[in-house]
Structures are given as C-alpha cells and as structure tokens.
Amino acid sequence: MPKENNSTKPTQHFVTPPESHFLQLAVWALVFVTVLPLEARAYTDPGTGTFLLQMLLAAIASSLFFMRTLRRRIRLLFRRNRKIGATEDGDSDKQSVE
C-alpha cells in the first residue's frame, strides 16, 4: 500500500476545499452536501456507498430528464405558436386544408 496513507485525516473529507477550481468538484460537493443528513457513523455497511452513488447519479439523471421534458414542451409551444402565426398570416398553402 502506498506510503501517503499516513498523511490523511479521515474525519474531514466532506468539507469542500474552498479554493477548488474544479467545476465538477463543486457540483458534486454541492449536491452531496444538500442531499444528505450530516451524521457521521463509525461503522458503514460495505457496498452502501456505491449504491448511494447510484441514487445520486439517478437524481442527477432525473433532473436532466425534467429539463429535457421542459425543453421539449417549450419547443412544442413555440412551434405551435409559429404554426398559428403562419396560418393567421394566410401565406401558407400547405396548411390551407386546416
């Protein structure tokens, strides 16, 4: 095992380094600080962490899905508006059937 082992302090890892320039780090830290209860446990069930990671990623995917749906709806709304605008102008032969 590498020697740097001894230099770490196991209790303080979920404090975000304040001057970090990593955008990704910031996003991760933010999500994880806001989502979780602040309670440290001495014993952890092996495997839980990765399962919780999946929950976290699922939550992120879920919000992406929400944004995607929102974007689609807005686009749809605009398209409908444009369509309405086009028919009102009366310049489209293709839509004259309606």
Partner: protein, 486 residues
C-alpha cells in the same frame, strides 16, 4: 472434485445450478428461472450475441435425452431443486477466471456486460448480476456464460441493482491496477466480490481523492456511506416510477456513465514490462539461432499436429502464435501480466486461437471458493488437456529463481502433456543462466546435458535434439512414455 467426475457450481443463484460432467455442461433451471430464460433466449439481443459468439450456445434437452444421459452415468441430471427444465450449454474448452486475466481481458469482459445490459434495455429485459465470473474466454474472445443472469424488468424501475457489483468487480480493480500498478491476481484472488471504495480510499493521497475518476468511484461513495445511517435500509427498497420513459432515461444514463468510467480505467498499452522487450532485444540468440529454434519448433508441430498446446512461460507468445497458426488451440501462460496483455491484444486483433493467462507455473493458481470447490486450480484444469507442452527458455528460471529440482519440473511436464514436450535445456554456462544465478552457479554444477537427458528419460523418449551452434542451449523434442505404448 474430479474424483467424483461431476462438478456442481453456481449454487449462489437459486434459479438453477450447473452440472459439469464428461466434458458436457448442463444447467438445471427451476420454474422461476425458466420464464426469464425463455424470454431472454427469444430476444433479439440474445440472437445477435449468439451469432457473434459472445453468448454461450444453449439448447433445451428433451426428457428422452435426459433419460439417455442418466442411463449412461447414473442419476446425473435430476429435477431435485424444483427444476422445470434442463439445458445443455456449449462447453467453453478452457475455463479461466478473472484472477488469471490481464487487465485488458477484465476490461473486455466489462464491456461485454455493459453491451448486453444496454441492448437488453430496449426489450424491457436486464442483467441481474454484473460480475466477471459471468464471463469465460474462448480463445481471446469473451463469452457470457451465465444465462440465468437475465430477467424481465419492471418498466418503472430506474435502479440497476448490479451497479455496485459492477463498480466493485470491474471498475475498482481496473482503477487500482491502472493507477497503483497492483496486479489483478493479487487483488482478485483474495476478494471474490472485488474491491470496496473504502479500501481504495485508504490507498489515495489527498490530491488523488479529488481526481475526477477517483472522486466519482471512490471518494463520493466513501463519504456518502460514512454519512448514511446503517440501520436505514429504506434506500434498498424498490423505487418504481409512474413514468416508464423517465425510468428508462435514468437507467440508460446510469449505464452510459458506467461505460464512461470503464473507458477511463481502460488499460493502456505499456512497454515497461521486465520481459516485454526480452525477445526483441535482450535475448541470448542471434537472428540465425532464433531462426533455427523456430524451425525446430515448427517441424515438431508439423510432425505431431497437436490439437491443444500449453505454452508455459510464453513471454511475448511468439511460439504460441506459431502453434495457433498451425491450427492448434493454445493456452499461453506467463506470470507477467504485461506480456500477457500484449499477447491478448495481438491474438484478439488477429483472431488467433490463443488464450493468454497470467499464471506462474511455479505457483499455479490455487483452487478457490467455497470448500475450494467452486473454481478449480490451474493444474486441475490443465490435467490431461494438452497433447503438447512447450517449455522454451523457461526451465532455468524454475531451476534457479524458484529452486525447483529438475526431476520435479520434468515430472510436472509429464503430468501436463499427454504426448509431446518441446523443451529447451539451458546450460549453467549460459549468460542468462549466470545472470539469474547471481554467483550461485555452483548449486547447478551437475546440470550437464547428460544429466538433463537422463532425467527426461524417466518419463519421456527423446525424439530428437538440436544443439543451437555456439550457444549453451539445446532443444529437445520429447515424447511421453505411457498409455501410448500400451
């Protein structure tokens, strides 16, 4: 296990069990497993992967066939676990386990697992466990063999249960191998279920902990687990969403994310192995000697046409490739994962029937698992499998570095081959021999050509010998003296 002639595995999965007997593989499947199995086999994904050879061939046995098999060998196949059907699988000719694979092969097995999982999503099916033990290798190509791993998914379920297992058994071992250089055999021999993020976290310095790939796979899970109340098992409750489209989107994102992680721990082609430049530059042969050696081996292979060859101490696999080109199925072993990884790349690219494995002949893979019966030792698997064994430029390593007596080495070779042995004798005067001996040449002073031949004669007949001119090396083609003469 071999003494009983029957091998039962796969007892961890309640949906069925595997019976291996007389070079045939059967699987008893119970009612619950059967529905999923039929559905999977009928899927477009299964057909596609069967066609490409990355899924094990499978057929249902009729009651008549089961009776026939049982008639021959007692009550081998029974429905005693509440079995509803028995299927026969194609036998993958040599079983190998993740702790014998170079990282390249673990990566490839992971890729196959994700390919299957992703492709099945479109058909509403999924994989319920993601471990490298679901995969075997046919030559250099991975084959998914655990057909009870598939199930119909609830369309509203956004969780991929084997996610954690995939991280533990594929991603973290590859990560630790890539960044800390720890060999997979050391990681996986002692850990059936892979590595925990906590274990890897302890190996990391502060900066490494926030390196993006470590942050995702190691630090975040570690921090999350530390904050999680262990008594709260509610996270494991199934979470079924009303919107199947949303569940599918989440699931697909998770698998995509795993694929990205797998790509970032993909093993790189390295050149820093102790042995990888051995043949290229640092060997004791002139071009002329090397050609002579190659001709000797080619002639031997052409004359005896072995079907299955074990190349022990294969190094870059130069002679494994020659044997494969002559139509043999080759298992190539060496203890150096770097040369084995390189050989795998080559054989996969050139579609050569070579299965390269990280095995040290002086300390071969032990039997593993429950009662040491789940995974056979390398020697058990190799016993009686090969009609030719090649030990080229390897005996002096066993004699000098490992201090194994010559009689023992020849005895092992005679246990491994059923017919021929191509072996290279290296005299103690050889420069490589001297380099390995480090001044202890006196220990091997009695190792003359005469002694070498007399030891070989205990188990073999000498078919021919060739002294490579001006070197201290001799090539022997030996034939085992046993059942053949009866």
């Amino acid at each position: 296990m071999r003494t009983r002639g029957v091998n039962t595995r796969s007892f961890r999965d309640p949906a069925g069990r595997v019976i291996v007997a007389d070079e045939r593989v059967f699987r008893v499947v119970n009612e619950a497993g059967l529905a999923h199995l039929r559905e999977f086999l009928n899927s477009a994904t299964a057909r596609r992967f069967l066609e490409s050879g990355s899924l094990v061939q499978t057929r249902f046995l009729s009651l008549g066939e089961i009776g026939e098999i049982n008639g021959a060998g007692g009550r081998l196949l029974s429905f005693d676990i509440g079995g509803a059907a028995i299927v026969e699988h194609e036998k993958v000719s040599f079983q190998s386990y993740p702790y014998e694979w170079p990282p390249e092969m673990l990566y490839e097995a992971g890729r196959l697992t994700l390919d299957l999982a992703e492709s099945l999503l479109n058909e509403g099916l999924g994989i319920k466990d993601a471990t490298p033990y679901n995969v075997l290798y046919r030559g250099p190509l991975p084959v998914f063999v655990d057909l009870l791993s598939f199930e119909r998914r609830d369309p509203g379920d956004p969780v991929w249960v084997p996610y954690s297992q995939f991280v533990r058994t594929f991603l973290l071992p590859l990560l630790v191998n890539k960044y800390f250089g720890l060999p997979l055999d050391q990681l996986l021999l002692s850990r059936r279920d892979g590595l925990e993020p906590e274990e890897v976290y302890r190996m990391c310095g502060t900066l490494r902990k926030i390196n993006p790939i470590f942050l995702e796979l190691v630090s975040t899970p570690k921090w999350l687990a530390a904050k999680h109340n262990g008594d709260d098992t509610s996270v494991y409750q199934p979470k079924i969403l009303d919107n199947p489209e949303k569940a599918g989107f989440i699931l697909r994102s998770l698998i995509k994310r795993l694929r990205r992680s797998l790509n970032s721990v993909k093993p790189e082609q390295r050149k820093d192995s102790r042995w990888s430049d051995y043949l290229a530059s640092n060997n004791n042969y002139s071009a002329e000697h090397f050609t002579a050696k190659q001709k000797f081996i080619e002639d031997a292979l052409a004359e005896f046409k072995p079907r299955r060859v074990l190349d022990a101490g294969c190094n870059t696999g130069h002679f494994s490739v020659i044997a494969a080109r002559k139509g043999a199925e080759v298992i190539a072993i060496d203890y150096d994962p770097v040369v084995i990884g390189e050989l795998w790349r080559r054989c996969a690219a050139e579609k050569l029937d070579v299965l390269p494995l990280v095995v040290n002949l002086a300390r071969p893979t032990p039997a593993m698992g429950w009662r040491n019966l789940e995974f056979a030792s390398f020697l058990d698997r190799a016993h009686g499998k090969f009609d030719a064994v090649m030990m080229l430029a390897v005996i002096h390593h066993l004699l000098v570095s490992e201090r194994i007596p010559l009689e023992e080495i020849i005895d092992l070779a005679a246990d491994l081959t059923t017919d021929i042995l191509i072996v290279e004798h290296v005299d103690p005067a050889d420069s490589m021999f001297r380099r390995l001996a480090r001044g202890r040449e006196s220990l091997h002073a009695d190792l003359t050509v005469e002694k070498f031949e007399s030891v070989c004669r205990a188990r073999f007949d000498i078919v021919r010998v060739q002294h490579l001119n001006e070197t201290s090396r001799w090539l022997y083609l030996l034939r085992k003296r046993n059942e053949r003469t009866v």
